[in-house]
């Protein structure tokens, strides 16, 4: 067990986890998930918000089993390797707000960092702008970290505190079984389903769930984080996590080539638009918010599984942020940025800067 435990903290550990995610994300696309969206934490949480009716954008409603799998897979790994640490209380409201604007920024670009890399691996040139914005946002966040930005310490708490969001996820899965998808119907009981658009495209439930569980398990072990990858590179010149991201890109690209899913270009890309400035700016806000919150959307799900109640609050913030995005017309679509998307990006940037500048304290 201790050998397995140490393997994942090595270079080959993180590389193999990135490779696993890359291959299976591309395969999920082949099995029904939307283009270049084999796995996208932001998009999938947005679809979950739609499935429970927090927003009513008819094309993005589906209870994505991958997200449920991420949290539960991480929880299982944390218990198995005795790393479950129930903790909470480090500025939850700040994390909630950061989650909201992280989601708003990501949905202007149309993807979390994972999807940005998958889009690049599928040939979508617009992803370059998104990844550029992501790195710029993380770079600004690093300046705050160097200046002493800190959300304060967590405290240990009851084990059941860490169970709450995983239990919500189990509840969501049970709802899917009680109210399964009905062909050509927009709803089933209390759940909403899409009959067209990306929300209607999904791999079979059990395959999605099993891949999600596998990714959650492995990512908990290896601490895979796309934001951390760039942050550590900028902050410490340390490339450990970055190798995982690189492996994800290379293996998703290779799998796409084999499956004939690689289509280079800027126009006509799946669930993508070419408003370069706003692709960049949207991801800049998202990258800054992830850095201030200490993890990319995926990592926040895995931390939730380890018992981190503050990461769980960030996840809830993202789901609520998705509802705002679609209710207020902020999210992008293949037609471009939503009517109020640009204003939302600017507000998001101001909010993140406010949080960064006012929460600096050397050595709390």
């Amino acid at each position: 067990m201790s050998q397995i435990k140490s393997f994942f903290s090595t270079r080959w550990g993180i590389v193999s986890v990135g490779a696993f995610i890359g291959v299976f994300a591309a395969l999920l696309q082949k099995l029904g998930n939307p283009g270049n969206m084999g796995i996208c934490v932001a998009c999938m949480e947005r679809d979950i918000a739609g499935a429970v009716g927090l927003h009513r954008a008819a094309v993005v409603q589906y209870m994505r089993p991958e997200i449920i799998g991420f949290v539960i897979g991480s929880l299982v790994a944390a218990y198995l390797f005795k790393e479950y640490r129930p903790r909470a209380g480090s500025a939850p409201i700040v994390r909630f707000i950061l989650g909201i604007f992280a989601m708003i920024g990501a949905l202007v670009f149309l993807g979390c960092p994972w999807r940005a890399i998958l889009r690049l691996a599928g040939g979508d040139g617009n992803a370059i702008l998104g990844i550029g914005g992501l790195v710029a946002g993380i770079w600004i966040g690093v300046l705050f970290l160097k200046g002493g930005y800190n959300l304060g310490r967590t405290t240990r708490t009851y084990p059941s505190v860490g169970w709450l969001l995983p239990l919500v996820m189990v509840g969501f899965l049970i709802l899917m079984f009680i109210f399964p998808q009905i062909p050509d119907s927009e709803s089933s009981g209390i759940l909403f389903y899409s009959i067209k658009g990306p929300g209607a495209m999904h791999a079979p439930l059990f395959i999605s769930l099993i891949v999600g569980l596998g990714v959650g398990f492995l990512a908990q072990r290896s601490r895979f984080c796309t934001m951390g990858a760039f942050r550590d590179l900028i902050l410490f010149r340390q490339a450990h996590l970055f190798k995982g991201v690189l492996a994800l890109l290379v293996f998703a690209f290779g799998t796409n080539l084999v499956l004939k899913q690689f289509n280079p270009g800027f126009t006509g890309q799946p669930i993508s638009h070419s408003m370069h400035v706003w692709n960049f700016a949207g991801m800049l806000v998202a990258g800054l918010a992830f850095t201030l919150a200490g993890g990319c959307p995926g990592r926040q799900l895995f931390l939730t599984g380890e018992g981190d109640g503050d990461a769980a609050v960030f996840v809830m913030g993202m789901i609520v942020g998705a509802a705002f995005s679609h209710n207020f017309g902020l999210a992008g679509s293949p037609a471009g940025v939503g009517p109020y998307g640009i204003a939302a990006v600017l507000v998001g940037l101001l909010v993140c800067l406010f949080i960064g500048f006012t929460m600096m304290q050397k050595m709390v």
């Binding site: 903290s9 390797f81 790393e83 640490r85 903790r87 480090s90 970290l145 800190n150 304060g152 310490r153 967590t154 405290t155 240990r156 601490r223 951390g228 942050r231 550590d232 902050l235 410490f236 340390q238 450990h240 200490g294 380890e306 981190d308 050595m363 709390v364």
Partner: protein, 72 residues
């Protein structure tokens, strides 16, 4: 003289930042860092080794670990 850093309750990159800060200030000697997650333990030891410090010992401390690093 031995320095002690209490990074419990802080999530990464804070424990690493605190460790690197102390490494820069100490130059050499011995530093003890107390962390409470395995991620922090891995990150702190990785950062210390990248600075040419050696990890002398890692002991359980409460729910976490006490990491001793040193450089002559």
């Amino acid at each position: 003289m031995e320095k002690i850093i209490d990074a419990r309750g802080l999530s990464c990159p804070q424990p690493v930042l605190m460790t690197l800060d102390q490494i820069k200030r100490s130059g050499k000697g011995r530093i003890e860092i107390i962390v409470d997650t395995d991620t922090s333990r891995e990150n702190v030891t990785r950062a210390a080794e990248s600075q040419g410090w050696r990890v002398e010992n890692i002991q359980p401390e409460g729910d976490g670990y006490k990491i001793g690093i040193a450089k002559d």
